[in-house]
Symmetry: C2
DNA sequence: GCCAAAATGATTGACGTCTATCAATTCCAT
DNA sequence: ATGGAATTGATAGACGTCAATCATTTTGGC
């Protein structure tokens, strides 16, 4: 009752091992009729090639590249730190990680990096999606060349990327609105959305989800026009300071871009007064962690970069292994209060749940031993 | 620059391959001095045995057993469904899953199952912890026999189990309290805790966390004595009905046992009145999902059984592989509103983040290629 | 110094796959 | 029919480990 090998397939198809091998490894030079018989035998026996044996024989090393924006954005710095921390261990698993820098929000720069990568293509590339036809074209070239391409954090649904690894940003925005509504259970309020840039798809989606739920379920909350902070802390701080100086009575802030240290500074004037607005932000960073702890922020929605990296790696490996694609589901964000902050040193680690094994099954085939 | 093999170790230690093999596989018959030289060579070279090659040569199959309580508890039914769904795919990875039934909350029954399993010990066992010296003794025997033992959902910190796979229940209770407090931002209230049984460690921890945060940060909320529903829906429904009939003005309910369908029925009397208490429950099930959708519950704290199973499998595999133990971190629960419910059919699947690769690294060794 | 026991070395076949080479067969166009 | 091309078969070595066997050396007790 053990798993069939390629030799079994060859025997069943009535061909030699060499011919069966030519078919499964697409080496060419096999007549159609024979190739069909081999494929039929594979289907009949349910043959799945033994990736471990294959990799052993080839001495295969996976080469994966993460293309990460540069700059002071705390989230991406965190992503880099995790990648650095897991790289040594991954080497034991014959996986080499490389980080390529790219300017943030800069399509031409991203295209240049992708083009340069295609000179000696790695096995897989993870990149933060940007809405741009040129980037989409570069991605298409890479996938055509057999590179596994996944989008990280922000998707490019209209490109040829194999999968998106990240949270459902619309759902995250809706969740933020629900939390905001919960905190306004017994009264009206005025809420300000602060974002990085409307050119980023993930930010657009969060805003749309936030708006939709507020409009539908919380008519007592007035939504102010969003402020575009361009991920720059000082801009955020200034804008809020001006608002507060004008005497604007804010009951809530939803900040879903970077630059939250500016937000924290602007809020310091409320310390001890007890009438600080409700503050919901994205991404657990040293700053937001601190603000949660001191009670200056209420909620952090974290996209769990460790889980994202783990899933990205597993996805790229699976594509490289030519395994039947398992459905990739979005990362479920963590909703964090001062009471359930994960251990800071743990957040440098990959998130639990192995992907070889944590691969989702195809359907409802059911049946235990 | 490739990874050292056992042949390299033998050469470095100045012994034959056979001797080195005797050491790493604990076959005995090696003089201490020589064994030490081999171990030194292993340390010097950083040798890590190639598990894939080893398994290939042995035709190894992992045998893992999940000991799951019987009964109508929706959460455990869900766990069983996930296990059934992933079993076929795991077989491709040379992993055989088996479920053993055990009566819920019943230490003698659990001991009997564990004893029977030790007759032909599997490679790993995952079980729901019960506070009991007899169970702890049975676990100790199993680990001594070389079985990888992990506790699932509820821990047994004083036993010899290798790891706990589940959420931090104290933190979950604190989170629930924070959410409850957020919803009471502008006024006092009376909150009722509903639990399954105080004999279950996970329930005790949730209650303790919930109490602590309410007492510390939300003095305006009065905490009623907890109700023990014994995971039985009809008991929960009756108790609440009596309470409401008496005119008790509840502003919040935190239910962290099973039997939430009874809670939903008891709450139906508030439909359309707009003054239903804030309801926070545990575990995403068909019932709680429905109640979230209709607006009868506000928040579900889900321990993500798919992620738990994935992590349990990865952990057992890692122990079986005699790999350096990576720290096991708690599962981060999902906080779910009507706005961010995961796709129902997805919840039958394992959670993302492969564990071979999603294994956490040891420390801060750092350094990319 | 002798003998048994213990320790060590040397080697082989298996696991399933990939790559490569060479020989043998079939096909097709002329 | 004949030659060249395309197809097919047979086989070997490599990957790193494990299990097993048998031969050889060393050790320790007397």
């Amino acid at each position: 009752m053990k798993a069939p090998t390629l030799a079994d397939v060859a025997r069943r198809a009535g061909v030699s091992y060499a011919t069966a091998d030519r078919v499964v490894n697409a080496r060419g030079g096999v007549a159609d009729a024979r190739a069909d018989r081999v494929r039929q035998a594979i289907a009949d026996l349910g043959y799945v090639r033994n990736v471990a044996a294959a990799n052993l024989s080839q001495g295969r090393v996976y080469r994966f590249v993460f293309v990460i924006p540069t700059g002071t954005n705390a989230f991406f710095l965190h992503l880099r730190m995790i990648l650095g921390a897991v790289a040594p261990r991954l080497r034991l698993e014959k996986t080499e990680l490389r980080i390529e820098d790219v300017a943030a929000f800069d399509a031409p720069s991203l295209v240049a990096v992708l083009r340069s990568l295609s000179l000696s293509p790695p096995d897989g590339i993870a990149l933060v999606g940007i809405d741009s036809p040129e980037v989409a074209a570069a991605v298409a070239d890479l996938t055509a060349a057999g590179v596994a391409v996944v989008t990280l954090v922000s998707d490019m649904p209209d490109s040829a990327r194999h999968a998106y690894v990240g949270i459902d940003n619309c759902s995250a925005g809706r969740t933020a609105a629900r939390l905001m509504g919960l905190a306004h259970a017994r009264g009206p309020g005025r809420v300000l959305p602060v974002l990085g840039s409307l050119t980023a798809r993930d930010h657009r989606e969060r805003l749309a989800g936030f708006r939709a739920v507020l409009a539908q379920d919380f008519p007592q909350i007035a939504l102010l026009p969003e402020f575009e902070g361009r991920d720059r802390a000082e801009l955020v701080e200034q804008a809020l300071a001006r608002l507060f100086d004008r005497g604007e009575a804010l009951s809530g802030i939803y900040s879903f871009g970077a630059g939250n240290s500016g937000l924290a500074r602007a809020l310091s004037r409320f310390e001890g007064t007890g009438n600080r607005p409700v503050v919901i932000v994205h991404e657990l960073t040293p700053r937001t962690r601190e603000a949660l702890g001191t009670g200056n922020f209420d909620v952090v929605i974290d996209q769990r970069p460790g889980a994202e990296i783990a899933l990205a790696l597993a996805t790229m490996r699976q594509i490289s292994d030519r395994l039947p694609a398992a459905p990739i589901r979005p990362i479920i964000p963590a909703i964090i209060f001062q009471d359930n902050m994960p251990d800071p040193e743990d957040s440098a680690l990959l998130d639990a749940a192995g992907l070889d094994h944590t691969t989702a099954p195809h359907g409802r085939q059911g049946g235990l031993t």
